[in-house]
Protein backbone atom coordinates (compact mmCIF):
# COMPACT_ATOMS: atom_id res chain seq x y z
CA UNK A 1 0.00 0.00 0.00
CA UNK A 2 1.15 3.55 -0.79
CA UNK A 3 0.50 6.55 1.42
CA UNK A 4 -1.54 8.19 -1.35
CA UNK A 5 -3.97 5.29 -1.13
CA UNK A 6 -4.36 5.85 2.61
CA UNK A 7 -4.96 9.56 2.08
CA UNK A 8 -7.68 8.77 -0.46
CA UNK A 9 -9.31 6.35 1.96
CA UNK A 10 -9.30 9.02 4.66
CA UNK A 11 -10.83 11.61 2.31
CA UNK A 12 -13.51 9.17 1.23
CA UNK A 13 -14.38 8.38 4.85
CA UNK A 14 -14.38 12.06 5.84
CA UNK A 15 -16.73 12.86 2.98
CA UNK A 16 -19.15 10.19 4.14
CA UNK A 17 -19.02 11.47 7.71
CA UNK A 18 -19.69 15.07 6.65
CA UNK A 19 -22.68 14.06 4.57
CA UNK A 20 -24.45 12.24 7.34
CA UNK A 21 -27.17 13.23 9.73
CA UNK A 22 -26.16 16.03 12.07
CA UNK A 23 -26.44 16.05 15.85
CA UNK A 24 -29.72 17.33 17.28
CA UNK A 25 -29.47 20.73 18.96
CA UNK A 26 -30.91 19.38 22.19
CA UNK A 27 -28.12 16.77 22.39
CA UNK A 28 -25.45 19.42 21.96
CA UNK A 29 -27.03 21.58 24.67
CA UNK A 30 -27.08 18.60 27.03
CA UNK A 31 -23.42 17.92 26.31
CA UNK A 32 -22.51 21.46 27.39
CA UNK A 33 -24.32 20.93 30.68
CA UNK A 34 -22.88 17.59 31.79
CA UNK A 35 -22.50 17.37 35.52
CA UNK A 36 -18.79 16.88 35.73
CA UNK A 37 -18.77 16.87 39.50
CA UNK A 38 -20.14 13.34 39.34
CA UNK A 39 -17.42 12.30 36.97
CA UNK A 40 -14.62 13.75 39.07
CA UNK A 41 -16.00 12.17 42.23
CA UNK A 42 -16.16 8.82 40.51
CA UNK A 43 -12.57 9.04 39.36
CA UNK A 44 -11.35 9.88 42.85
CA UNK A 45 -13.47 7.24 44.53
CA UNK A 46 -10.60 4.86 45.48
CA UNK A 47 -8.50 7.74 46.78
CA UNK A 48 -11.40 9.25 48.73
CA UNK A 49 -12.35 5.87 50.21
CA UNK A 50 -8.74 5.31 51.21
CA UNK A 51 -8.58 8.76 52.79
CA UNK A 52 -11.72 8.09 54.84
CA UNK A 53 -10.30 4.76 56.08
CA UNK A 54 -7.02 6.52 56.98
CA UNK A 55 -8.93 9.25 58.88
CA UNK A 56 -10.89 6.71 60.90
CA UNK A 57 -7.70 4.79 61.75
CA UNK A 58 -5.92 8.04 62.60
CA UNK A 59 -8.71 9.09 64.98
CA UNK A 60 -8.60 5.67 66.61
CA UNK A 61 -4.84 5.85 67.16
CA UNK A 62 -4.68 9.48 68.27
CA UNK A 63 -7.53 9.04 70.75
CA UNK A 64 -5.75 6.08 72.33
CA UNK A 65 -2.22 7.46 72.12
CA UNK A 66 -1.95 7.81 75.91
CA UNK A 67 -2.43 4.04 76.28
CA UNK A 68 0.58 3.26 74.11
CA UNK A 69 3.42 2.15 76.31
CA UNK A 70 6.22 1.16 76.55
CA UNK A 71 8.12 3.63 74.36
CA UNK A 72 8.34 1.40 71.25
CA UNK A 73 4.55 1.12 71.04
CA UNK A 74 4.34 4.92 71.36
CA UNK A 75 6.89 5.19 68.51
CA UNK A 76 4.79 2.79 66.39
CA UNK A 77 1.73 4.93 67.15
CA UNK A 78 3.44 8.16 66.11
CA UNK A 79 4.87 6.64 62.91
CA UNK A 80 1.47 5.13 62.03
CA UNK A 81 -0.26 8.47 62.58
CA UNK A 82 2.25 10.23 60.34
CA UNK A 83 1.79 7.58 57.62
CA UNK A 84 -2.00 7.86 57.89
CA UNK A 85 -1.79 11.61 57.30
CA UNK A 86 0.89 11.49 54.62
CA UNK A 87 -0.49 8.70 52.42
CA UNK A 88 -3.91 10.13 51.54
CA UNK A 89 -2.56 13.68 51.23
CA UNK A 90 0.10 12.84 48.65
CA UNK A 91 -2.19 10.46 46.79
CA UNK A 92 -5.11 12.90 46.47
CA UNK A 93 -2.76 15.75 45.55
CA UNK A 94 -1.31 13.66 42.72
CA UNK A 95 -4.79 12.76 41.44
CA UNK A 96 -5.83 16.42 41.46
CA UNK A 97 -2.65 17.35 39.64
CA UNK A 98 -3.17 14.80 36.85
CA UNK A 99 -6.80 15.81 36.45
CA UNK A 100 -6.35 19.54 36.45
CA UNK A 101 -5.63 20.59 32.92
CA UNK A 102 -6.26 23.51 30.65
CA UNK A 103 -6.99 22.40 27.12
CA UNK A 104 -7.74 25.88 25.86
CA UNK A 105 -4.43 27.71 26.24
CA UNK A 106 -1.79 25.04 25.59
CA UNK A 107 -0.83 23.51 22.27
CA UNK A 108 -0.59 19.77 21.61
CA UNK A 109 3.11 19.56 22.47
CA UNK A 110 2.69 21.43 25.76
CA UNK A 111 -0.34 19.34 26.67
CA UNK A 112 1.46 16.08 25.92
CA UNK A 113 4.49 17.19 27.90
CA UNK A 114 2.43 18.34 30.92
CA UNK A 115 0.26 15.25 30.80
CA UNK A 116 3.20 12.83 30.73
CA UNK A 117 5.10 14.72 33.45
CA UNK A 118 2.01 14.63 35.68
CA UNK A 119 1.60 10.96 34.90
CA UNK A 120 5.21 10.26 35.90
CA UNK A 121 4.68 12.21 39.12
CA UNK A 122 1.50 10.25 39.80
CA UNK A 123 3.25 6.89 39.25
CA UNK A 124 6.14 7.87 41.52
CA UNK A 125 3.67 8.92 44.20
CA UNK A 126 1.86 5.60 43.89
CA UNK A 127 5.16 3.76 44.27
CA UNK A 128 6.04 5.84 47.32
CA UNK A 129 2.58 5.15 48.77
CA UNK A 130 3.16 1.42 48.42
CA UNK A 131 6.43 1.67 50.34
CA UNK A 132 4.75 3.76 53.03
CA UNK A 133 1.96 1.18 53.10
CA UNK A 134 4.50 -1.56 53.85
CA UNK A 135 5.94 0.54 56.68
CA UNK A 136 2.45 1.19 58.01
CA UNK A 137 1.81 -2.56 58.00
CA UNK A 138 4.74 -2.99 60.41
CA UNK A 139 3.84 -0.18 62.78
CA UNK A 140 0.06 -0.34 62.93
CA UNK A 141 -0.35 -3.99 63.95
CA UNK A 142 1.17 -3.69 67.46
CA UNK A 143 -0.68 -0.38 67.96
CA UNK A 144 -4.04 -1.93 67.13
CA UNK A 145 -3.23 -4.94 69.31
CA UNK A 146 -2.48 -2.69 72.26
CA UNK A 147 -5.50 -0.41 71.77
CA UNK A 148 -8.00 -3.24 71.21
CA UNK A 149 -6.84 -5.88 73.66
CA UNK A 150 -4.34 -4.06 75.85
CA UNK A 151 -1.64 -6.57 74.88
CA UNK A 152 1.91 -5.89 73.76
CA UNK A 153 2.01 -7.99 70.58
CA UNK A 154 5.79 -7.75 70.37
CA UNK A 155 5.87 -10.07 73.38
CA UNK A 156 3.75 -12.71 71.66
CA UNK A 157 4.70 -14.94 68.74
CA UNK A 158 1.48 -14.09 66.89
CA UNK A 159 2.78 -10.82 65.40
CA UNK A 160 5.90 -12.54 64.05
CA UNK A 161 3.70 -15.07 62.26
CA UNK A 162 1.74 -12.21 60.69
CA UNK A 163 4.94 -10.47 59.64
CA UNK A 164 6.43 -13.63 58.22
CA UNK A 165 3.33 -14.26 56.08
CA UNK A 166 2.61 -10.60 55.29
CA UNK A 167 6.07 -9.56 54.18
CA UNK A 168 6.65 -12.06 51.38
CA UNK A 169 3.11 -11.34 50.16
CA UNK A 170 3.71 -7.56 50.23
CA UNK A 171 7.10 -8.00 48.56
CA UNK A 172 5.74 -10.00 45.63
CA UNK A 173 2.62 -7.86 45.30
CA UNK A 174 4.66 -4.63 45.28
CA UNK A 175 7.13 -6.18 42.85
CA UNK A 176 4.27 -7.09 40.47
CA UNK A 177 2.65 -3.65 40.71
CA UNK A 178 6.02 -1.87 40.36
CA UNK A 179 6.66 -3.76 37.12
CA UNK A 180 3.41 -2.38 35.71
CA UNK A 181 4.18 1.11 36.99
CA UNK A 182 7.69 1.00 35.54
CA UNK A 183 6.38 0.09 32.13
CA UNK A 184 3.94 3.04 32.21
CA UNK A 185 6.73 5.25 33.51
CA UNK A 186 9.11 4.36 30.69
CA UNK A 187 6.35 5.00 28.11
CA UNK A 188 5.78 8.49 29.56
CA UNK A 189 9.55 9.15 29.63
CA UNK A 190 9.82 8.02 26.02
CA UNK A 191 7.12 10.49 24.90
CA UNK A 192 8.86 13.35 26.73
CA UNK A 193 12.15 12.41 25.04
CA UNK A 194 10.53 12.21 21.61
CA UNK A 195 8.88 15.61 22.07
CA UNK A 196 12.37 17.12 22.17
CA UNK A 197 13.68 15.22 19.10
Amino acid sequence: MEFKELENQWKEMSGKIDNQKKLADSKIIKMTEINYTNKINKMKFPEITGAVVCCVALFFIVSGMHKLEPWYLMMCGIVSAIMLILMPVISIRAVFKIQSFDVSTNNYKQTLSAYNKNKMHFINVQKLSMCLGALLFVTILPVIGKLMSGKDLFKSTFIWYIYSVGFPFLYYFDHWVFKKYNSALSKAEDIIRKLED
Binding site: L6, W10, S14, K16, L23, K42, S104, N106
Partner: protein, 182 residues
Protein backbone atom coordinates in the same frame (compact mmCIF):
# COMPACT_ATOMS: atom_id res chain seq x y z
CA UNK B 1 -16.91 25.46 5.31
CA UNK B 2 -18.66 28.47 6.78
CA UNK B 3 -16.45 30.91 8.65
CA UNK B 4 -17.92 31.71 12.00
CA UNK B 5 -15.35 34.12 13.34
CA UNK B 6 -17.70 37.10 13.02
CA UNK B 7 -20.26 35.47 15.22
CA UNK B 8 -18.01 35.05 18.22
CA UNK B 9 -18.12 38.67 19.29
CA UNK B 10 -21.33 38.11 21.20
CA UNK B 11 -21.36 38.29 24.96
CA UNK B 12 -20.54 34.90 26.40
CA UNK B 13 -23.30 32.75 27.81
CA UNK B 14 -26.06 34.69 26.11
CA UNK B 15 -28.68 32.56 24.42
CA UNK B 16 -27.39 33.77 21.11
CA UNK B 17 -23.86 32.58 21.87
CA UNK B 18 -25.21 29.12 22.61
CA UNK B 19 -27.06 29.09 19.31
CA UNK B 20 -23.86 30.05 17.49
CA UNK B 21 -21.95 27.38 19.36
CA UNK B 22 -24.47 24.73 18.39
CA UNK B 23 -24.21 25.86 14.80
CA UNK B 24 -20.41 25.48 14.87
CA UNK B 25 -20.63 22.02 16.44
CA UNK B 26 -23.19 20.87 13.88
CA UNK B 27 -21.01 22.20 11.12
CA UNK B 28 -17.86 20.44 12.41
CA UNK B 29 -19.07 17.37 14.29
CA UNK B 30 -17.18 15.13 11.85
CA UNK B 31 -13.92 16.56 13.20
CA UNK B 32 -14.94 15.71 16.78
CA UNK B 33 -16.08 12.26 15.72
CA UNK B 34 -12.72 11.46 14.12
CA UNK B 35 -10.70 12.66 17.12
CA UNK B 36 -12.97 10.64 19.43
CA UNK B 37 -12.40 7.54 17.35
CA UNK B 38 -8.64 8.07 17.33
CA UNK B 39 -8.27 8.42 21.08
CA UNK B 40 -10.65 5.71 22.27
CA UNK B 41 -10.84 1.95 22.08
CA UNK B 42 -14.55 1.19 22.17
CA UNK B 43 -17.82 2.67 21.04
CA UNK B 44 -18.68 3.60 24.62
CA UNK B 45 -15.35 5.41 25.11
CA UNK B 46 -15.87 7.12 21.80
CA UNK B 47 -19.23 8.50 22.93
CA UNK B 48 -17.76 9.68 26.24
CA UNK B 49 -14.86 11.41 24.54
CA UNK B 50 -17.14 13.03 21.96
CA UNK B 51 -19.13 14.58 24.78
CA UNK B 52 -15.99 15.58 26.70
CA UNK B 53 -14.73 17.42 23.64
CA UNK B 54 -18.02 19.28 23.14
CA UNK B 55 -18.00 20.19 26.83
CA UNK B 56 -14.39 21.44 26.69
CA UNK B 57 -15.12 23.42 23.53
CA UNK B 58 -18.07 25.10 25.21
CA UNK B 59 -16.01 25.83 28.33
CA UNK B 60 -13.29 27.45 26.20
CA UNK B 61 -15.62 29.14 23.75
CA UNK B 62 -15.26 32.53 25.44
CA UNK B 63 -11.46 32.38 25.11
CA UNK B 64 -11.58 32.11 21.32
CA UNK B 65 -10.16 35.41 20.07
CA UNK B 66 -10.53 35.09 16.28
CA UNK B 67 -6.74 34.91 15.96
CA UNK B 68 -7.04 31.66 14.07
CA UNK B 69 -9.68 29.80 12.10
CA UNK B 70 -12.43 28.31 14.23
CA UNK B 71 -11.46 24.82 13.02
CA UNK B 72 -7.81 25.36 14.06
CA UNK B 73 -9.05 26.20 17.55
CA UNK B 74 -11.38 23.20 17.51
CA UNK B 75 -8.64 20.78 16.45
CA UNK B 76 -6.39 22.06 19.25
CA UNK B 77 -9.01 21.68 21.98
CA UNK B 78 -10.21 18.31 20.64
CA UNK B 79 -6.71 16.83 20.44
CA UNK B 80 -5.76 18.20 23.88
CA UNK B 81 -8.90 16.63 25.34
CA UNK B 82 -8.06 13.37 23.58
CA UNK B 83 -4.67 13.25 25.34
CA UNK B 84 -6.26 13.64 28.74
CA UNK B 85 -8.75 10.96 27.92
CA UNK B 86 -6.07 8.32 27.31
CA UNK B 87 -6.19 6.95 30.85
CA UNK B 88 -9.78 7.76 31.63
CA UNK B 89 -11.39 5.28 29.34
CA UNK B 90 -12.29 2.77 31.99
CA UNK B 91 -13.75 5.26 34.43
CA UNK B 92 -17.28 6.03 33.38
CA UNK B 93 -19.56 8.79 34.42
CA UNK B 94 -23.20 9.43 33.70
CA UNK B 95 -23.43 10.85 30.24
CA UNK B 96 -25.98 12.09 27.78
CA UNK B 97 -27.51 9.19 25.93
CA UNK B 98 -26.70 9.59 22.28
CA UNK B 99 -28.40 8.09 19.31
CA UNK B 100 -26.19 5.12 18.53
CA UNK B 101 -26.63 5.37 14.81
CA UNK B 102 -25.56 8.97 14.94
CA UNK B 103 -22.16 8.49 16.53
CA UNK B 104 -21.42 5.14 15.05
CA UNK B 105 -20.61 6.84 11.82
CA UNK B 106 -19.90 6.58 8.95
CA UNK B 107 -22.86 4.36 8.11
CA UNK B 108 -21.25 2.24 5.47
CA UNK B 109 -23.19 -0.43 3.75
CA UNK B 110 -20.16 -1.96 2.08
CA UNK B 111 -18.58 -4.19 4.74
CA UNK B 112 -15.19 -4.34 3.07
CA UNK B 113 -15.07 -0.52 3.16
CA UNK B 114 -15.89 -0.56 6.87
CA UNK B 115 -13.07 -3.07 7.40
CA UNK B 116 -10.70 -0.81 5.51
CA UNK B 117 -11.62 2.19 7.67
CA UNK B 118 -11.35 0.16 10.87
CA UNK B 119 -7.94 -1.10 9.84
CA UNK B 120 -6.84 2.44 9.01
CA UNK B 121 -7.87 3.71 12.46
CA UNK B 122 -6.35 0.67 14.16
CA UNK B 123 -2.98 1.33 12.53
CA UNK B 124 -3.08 5.06 13.32
CA UNK B 125 -3.86 4.21 16.96
CA UNK B 126 -0.70 2.07 17.08
CA UNK B 127 1.40 5.19 16.55
CA UNK B 128 2.59 7.05 19.64
CA UNK B 129 0.65 10.11 20.86
CA UNK B 130 2.90 12.60 19.08
CA UNK B 131 2.76 10.79 15.74
CA UNK B 132 -0.97 10.17 16.01
CA UNK B 133 -1.82 13.85 16.42
CA UNK B 134 0.45 15.01 13.61
CA UNK B 135 -0.61 12.43 11.03
CA UNK B 136 -4.26 13.01 11.85
CA UNK B 137 -3.93 16.72 11.05
CA UNK B 138 -1.98 15.88 7.90
CA UNK B 139 -4.67 13.45 6.73
CA UNK B 140 -7.24 16.13 7.48
CA UNK B 141 -5.52 18.19 4.80
CA UNK B 142 -3.92 20.73 7.10
CA UNK B 143 -0.87 22.61 5.81
CA UNK B 144 2.43 22.33 7.69
CA UNK B 145 2.08 25.82 9.17
CA UNK B 146 -1.39 25.08 10.54
CA UNK B 147 -0.18 21.76 11.97
CA UNK B 148 2.70 23.66 13.56
CA UNK B 149 0.25 26.17 15.05
CA UNK B 150 -1.95 23.45 16.54
CA UNK B 151 0.85 21.22 17.80
CA UNK B 152 3.54 23.72 18.82
CA UNK B 153 6.32 22.06 16.79
CA UNK B 154 8.27 24.12 14.25
CA UNK B 155 7.25 23.92 10.58
CA UNK B 156 10.59 22.24 9.69
CA UNK B 157 10.15 19.74 12.47
CA UNK B 158 6.64 18.96 11.26
CA UNK B 159 8.00 18.28 7.78
CA UNK B 160 10.63 15.87 9.10
CA UNK B 161 8.21 14.12 11.42
CA UNK B 162 5.53 13.68 8.75
CA UNK B 163 8.03 11.98 6.45
CA UNK B 164 8.98 9.52 9.20
CA UNK B 165 5.41 8.88 10.30
CA UNK B 166 4.25 8.18 6.74
CA UNK B 167 6.95 5.52 6.35
CA UNK B 168 6.16 3.98 9.74
CA UNK B 169 2.43 3.90 9.10
CA UNK B 170 2.73 2.35 5.65
CA UNK B 171 5.15 -0.32 6.83
CA UNK B 172 2.78 -1.12 9.72
CA UNK B 173 -0.15 -1.44 7.32
CA UNK B 174 1.76 -3.56 4.84
CA UNK B 175 3.09 -5.79 7.60
CA UNK B 176 -0.44 -6.22 8.92
CA UNK B 177 -1.73 -7.07 5.44
CA UNK B 178 1.06 -9.59 4.92
CA UNK B 179 0.28 -11.12 8.30
CA UNK B 180 -3.37 -11.49 7.35
CA UNK B 181 -2.50 -12.88 3.94
CA UNK B 182 -4.14 -9.92 2.12
Amino acid sequence: MIHHSHILDMSYNSGETKIRFIEIIRENDGLIYKVSKMYSNSFEDEQDLFQDIVYQLWKSFSSFRNESKITTWMYRIALNTGIHYLDKGKKKAHKVSLDETLLNRPEIIDESKQDQYDMMFAQIKRLNDIERGIIFLYLEGKAHDEIAMITGFTITNIGTRIGRIKQKLISQINLNKAGNGI
